[in-house]
Symmetry: C2
Subunit: 109 residues, 2 copies
């Protein structure tokens, strides 16, 4: 339980409705982060682990990108054993920022 | 004529369809630039001169913001005497990036 609690603390989430527009735009204005979101958009929730994304950056940088996406209310994460699984918060984010995801990740860069 | 040509050269415009998504998002991910766009959105085309915007930045910085917006295909500018007039390229930008302006400037920050 203590271990789980410690882990849970490292995975703070922000509700999309509490995210300022500036933070949402900052999160989306990066090609690596958009590629993560596009990947999640075409896969079932909780089926993609952080380590399985093919990203052109080092692991620490990738972790930073996932953290930015989580802070912007764009993804939800949970740990399952050694894997950190991801889910795109499509409907919640769409409620908070109508049309923004469609305008940014439903098209090629 | 020579003076007009020199001026025209300083006002290069980019078609929204030629703007990369990254450049569009970078242009929109700034609160001062969004305030300029919101101002233009509620005024008639060519009625707002650069010097008349109430912006919390110095003149040189404001000029930079207008240039970024022009380079991203978001505004059109033309000189009329000493004034530089502006127009929001709403329909052209909407064609190139459907929903993006609505998601960013049709709402408060």
């Amino acid at each position: 339980m203590a271990v789980e609690s410690a882990r849970a603390r490292t995975l703070q989430h922000v509700e999309p409705g509490d995210v300022p527009l500036q933070a949402a735009l900052d999160a989306l204005a990066d090609p690596v982060r958009r590629s993560i979101l596009r990947d999640l958009a075409v896969h079932e929730d909780w089926t993609r682990a952080c380590g399985t994304f093919d990203l052109p950056v080092k692991k620490a940088t990738a972790s930073h990108h996932f953290a930015v996406l989580r802070s912007a209310g764009l993804i939800e994460q949970r740990d399952e054993g050694a894997r950190r699984l991801n889910r795109l918060r499509r409907s919640e984010f769409d409620d908070a920022f109508p049309g923004l995801l469609a305008a940014t990740i439903d098209r090629a860069d």
